[in-house]
Symmetry: C4
């Protein structure tokens, strides 16, 4: 798959997510629904679509995304060393659990995009969809979950070539 | 397996669930047992058997069930493209985790029937079983978790044939 | 493995569990440790070793154990129909997840022994170990998690032979 | 992999963890961040790096680490008896779930190092890194999560050779 295919998939997925939770998003308009905050107020909905850093610190957030991406890409490259693993269904399971593990261990500070298309596509959808009380689309942060995975992916390739 | 077999399985499973939790259902009659609500009152028991939408909106609920069913059936069709996967036990694991993932991500609005027999059979069992304080069987909603999966399954086939 | 081997394993496991949590069990003597109850009082420790029914109802508890055991043994018998599955490591994963699934869905009423040795061995260990404030070993219930799995296992065999 | 490689990996991992959560660690300096305690006070950060016993009891803690290590190493040795399992990706999944299972069942009293490098490397990193309000590195406990896994690993080898 090309990066464009993945981007198209992320946009499509974000739109289908909007349709899936359509009644919940609409309920947010009146502060009567499942997505309302503690005081009955509507809540910002960006977190349903894009990643949001826990503490806003561009350098630290970028480093977090780089490290988490290396933690994803380097093992996947290394799996290629095991003959026959790539053709088996087991690899699907291992990579799925790897992504879950990265989320649990390294995902806290930034919400782990670890893929340049993961964050940008859904953020675009959030910007253009007519969701009531949707709040900001936070475009000031948008470059980090794109640049971080791009740098992390390249770095993983460098480490892999140096090590094997 | 035919749809009739799956329906019979869903009915049998719902009845065995009733037997398994027999003492809990009976305790609900007196407001003394494990299934009582916060104020010591008995609780409606339909949620043990059938799906219940979080926000009642026929069109939105139907769309949710269609999307979630496509998210189940389309990958299963695509798994058939990987030679040898169908015969391995790994496919069982992958499909199980796929269902869990659909439940976590798309299951919130409707409780994800994603199979025409999943909801109808257990709802019938709920209607006929002599469970004390069982509340309504909510037949007005029953067509959605049947029609949604039927439409979604057909749609997944159309998408698959167009794409591969 | 014979039933005697499994029983010996359950006894050994319960004793190793006691050693692993030795400091926690001892802290329970003074109401100062990790296992104390909400009011700082020591708590009964049987639940660490044996199963305890949520609602005490011999017939219903027995039926629950029978159904849960059939839900374990019948699929395992059926897995034997898939050639090559028994020799692969994948079967280990599938059976592990099957046990987890039975616990989540059918385990609530009785704590799911679903094996005649699972409950009896650890209950014996609880009876003889000098655990402070250990409470009752509840021998009146002990026959159910033995008889239920024995009946359920036999029933699964009958169903399997009738169906395949 | 040699023990030295694993130790270097544990040190590297602990340092990357520090970089990943850099903004969170810095926020702890001012009692303003995500890692602050309930009363807005900074919290000790050792638990992010090393294991900490729930109840401080050297003999009991050592026994816990020995038992948990045997529970890891003995099955791994036994997996070698199943022909072909070692070359398959399935073994990766089984061992991962084994570690998760040991953590859930035996991990409570000591935090389960079950590997001599797991605790020592990250504790060294905690000692030398300039983390604000990091609290003690608790070197008095450091020998237990090294000695326990070494004894447990040897014991598992003895049991394996005696049994197979």
């Amino acid at each position: 798959m090309s990066n464009g295919d993945i981007f198209a998939g992320a946009v499509t997925g974000a739109f289908l997510c909007y349709l899936t939770y359509f009644a919940q998003f609409r309920a947010n308009a009146h502060g009567t629904g499942a997505t309302e905050g503690t005081a009955g107020e509507p809540v910002a909905t960006l977190g349903v679509f894009s990643t949001i850093p826990e503490i806003r610190n561009p350098v630290a957030n970028l480093v977090t995304e780089i490290i988490a991406t290396v933690a994803l890409v380097l093992p996947i490259l290394a799996f290629g060393l095991t003959e026959g693993l790539g053709e088996s269904g087991t690899l699907v399971l291992i990579v799925s659990l790897l992504v879950v593990g990265i989320g649990l261990s390294l995902g806290g500070p930034t919400g782990y995009a670890i893929n340049p298309a993961r964050d940008l596509g859904p953020r675009l959808v959030h910007t253009f969809l007519p969701i009531p009380n949707k709040g900001t689309s936070d475009w000031g942060y948008a470059w980090i979950p794109v640049a971080g995975p791009l740098i992390g992916g390249a770095l993983a390739g460098v480490v892999y070539n140096a090590a094997f």
